[in-house]
Amino acid sequence: MVAKTIPLNQLPLGSFAKVVELRLEGLPRRRMLDLGLVAEAVIEAVRRSPAGDPVAFCIRGALIALREEESSQILVSPI
């Protein structure tokens, strides 16, 4: 199935997506992996900081805030 992929930072608040690809390298990539952001993982965009960034995502039951720099490097397909 070829679904449309978007960077995670473009996922509207309140919607869900599946991780397609991590475009991060090195330590940031390993951090995301540790949090369970592996391919096919389901993620929900939950809330935006009052200052505009970061955005908190629900990842495997935990609320994790990511800055735009990282979330724009995570490709997801909305579900």
Binding site: L22, L24, L27, P28, R29, R30, R31, M32, L33, D34, L35, G36, V38, A39, A41, V46, R47, R48, S49, P50, A51, G52, D53, P54, A56, I59, R60, G61, A62, L63, I64, A65, L66, R67, E69, E70
Partner: protein
Amino acid sequence: MAKCSSCRCCSKVEPIGVQEQFKIKLNSPEQAIIALAGNPNVGKSTVFNALTGLNQHTGNWPGKTVSNAQGQVKFKDKDFLLVDLPGTYSLLANSVDEQVARDFICFGHPHVTIVVIDATCLERNLNLVFQVLEITPQVVVCLNLLDEAKKKGISVDAELLAQELGVPVIPTIAREGKGLEELMQAVYDLCLGIRQTFPKQITYDLDIETAVNKIEPQLIPLINGFVDARWAALRLLDGDQTILQQIDIPLVHKIAQETRMYRHNGFLRDRIVGNIYARAEKIAQKVVKNSSPKIDWDRRLDNILTSPIFGFPIMMLLLGVVFWLTIAGANVPSEIIANVLFQFQDYLSTLFLAWGAPAWLHGVLVLGLYRCLAWVISVMLPPMAIFFPCFTLLEDLGYLPRIAFNLDRFFKKAGTHGKQALTMSMGFGCNAAGVIACRIIESPREKLIAILTNNFVPCNGRFPTLIAVSSIFMGGAVAYNYSTMVASATIVLLVLLGISTTLLVSWLLSKTILQGEASSFTLELPPYRRPQIMQVIIRSIFDRTLFVLWRAIIVAAPAGAFIWLLANIMVGNQSIIAHIAQWLDPFGRLLGMDGFIILAFLLGLPANEIVLPILIMSYLATGSMLELDSLDALRKLFVEHGWNWLTALNVLLFSLLHFPCATTLLTMRKETNSWKWPLLAVLLTTAIAILVTFTTAQIARVCGLV
């Protein structure tokens, strides 16, 4: 798991320094070491405190477990030493705390490792469990936070989970003490060999397994009985260089080199972690039951506390309320304590007189040492005993990460790490603790910025000065009914100024000597938790209030005696202190203060707590008043020495911005391994403090405001 005596290699792989690094102190050789591991925010510290009975009054600040806590537990006939490891998501040595945790589980040879896991997000927690299981089979899983899970409509089948993992799984609600008896029983059984575990390890993708099968047999003769060979093979395959520091054997280095050929098709780590998560997902599907969740209070609360409209006002309001409570609540107890202590001073004086002690001895010990102590205690204890519990309450509630979430963008703009908001918050307690907390920041550049700027949030040693001065001059300038409110507002403004300075200086540093972009970070926003009142009180009073007070006392006592001598030894027609103050006076005037104030700040270097007592003592020595038992008396004393609102304002500003105390500087030296950075911190802060106070003084004078 003693090392074997026969093989050559084991003598080489003595766990160098791991036990020393952790400062493990066993009461007896029979005592068993228990490691406590887990993700951050799973209630690990609650388990630790519940098991060790809150006897551990080690400095309990966030990030504290980067250096670990230890505690004694007795269960049945056996003594255990419980070692609290840093909270980590993984043991793949991505950061210092992960490496610390891994090294301890691996090379510190604990008899049993307890992995505390969060029932509400099982998959991510199982990731850590599987990583621990690869290192050691001696594992007990503590399935914690079942109360929170229940609220969220999540139930976990512990027995089924135990079957899936092959190790005991004990359901607990640590904050209510539920399940801890069973947990210790499982640890006990495992320790004494009454029970055995049969951990079911992860099977990785075929090519990974093939590679492991080639490497593992080569490692077995080299590291047998020291670390698990399969685990070591996986780590070498993953390209992990850090374990070579612990297993420093030439042959192993060579094997590590050879693993390169297995890494040709990239992203090996992705697949290793992916395999673990795939298994974790499968298990979670089996053992977790989700019923329809009730109202999600966390999200509702977050909707308000991090709302675009209310987020920032609520932050300031909370800050204001905390200060208001501190100022309003501390007044009366401060006066009572002062009365009691100063009455005792009279009693002491009578005693000295009755003994016929020489006047100078009475002066040094009673008028110097004792009076300074009495002042420090009566002024510092009540506000701290209110401020610290309030602060700990917010911390326990889970509000601090929300502050970091709200403020992160500003820190990013300043080119620094988002967690700097957390280390900054810690600085409110104690800047030295704030500097230590900077360990949670991995990037060395951002860590240095956080360390250098930590001093711009006023620590608890400075709050009494800030509170007293703003109560007298800012609060005193308005009607009595509003004075507490105005004083609190002044302090909130000062704190905001401190935060702005932090951001500005951070930005300047990252544009100049510490250039670079903000590095990646992830910030977990844990669920809000009902604070445990008893724990909050005990922790904030014993670990924080008394800790800080004690530090102030040991500095204040000798300082009091010393100042008394300075104030009473005459050279020519005036005392030494008057000479120095006179010499400093022109400089002080330039900054809108006077020589005594500058001297007090300088002499207050050992601890900021004593700045005000020093000032009072030197004024008293040169003034007409002898007793000082209320803020009103203090006001009279200051006014008598020529204070006006500008003096007060600049004392507040100088106190906020000036050089860090000696303890903080020493801590900086320790954390950065160089005198360069503490020195820079002194220059930077002092320059800013001088510049700001000079400017306000000149503006006020030019505009004819004073």
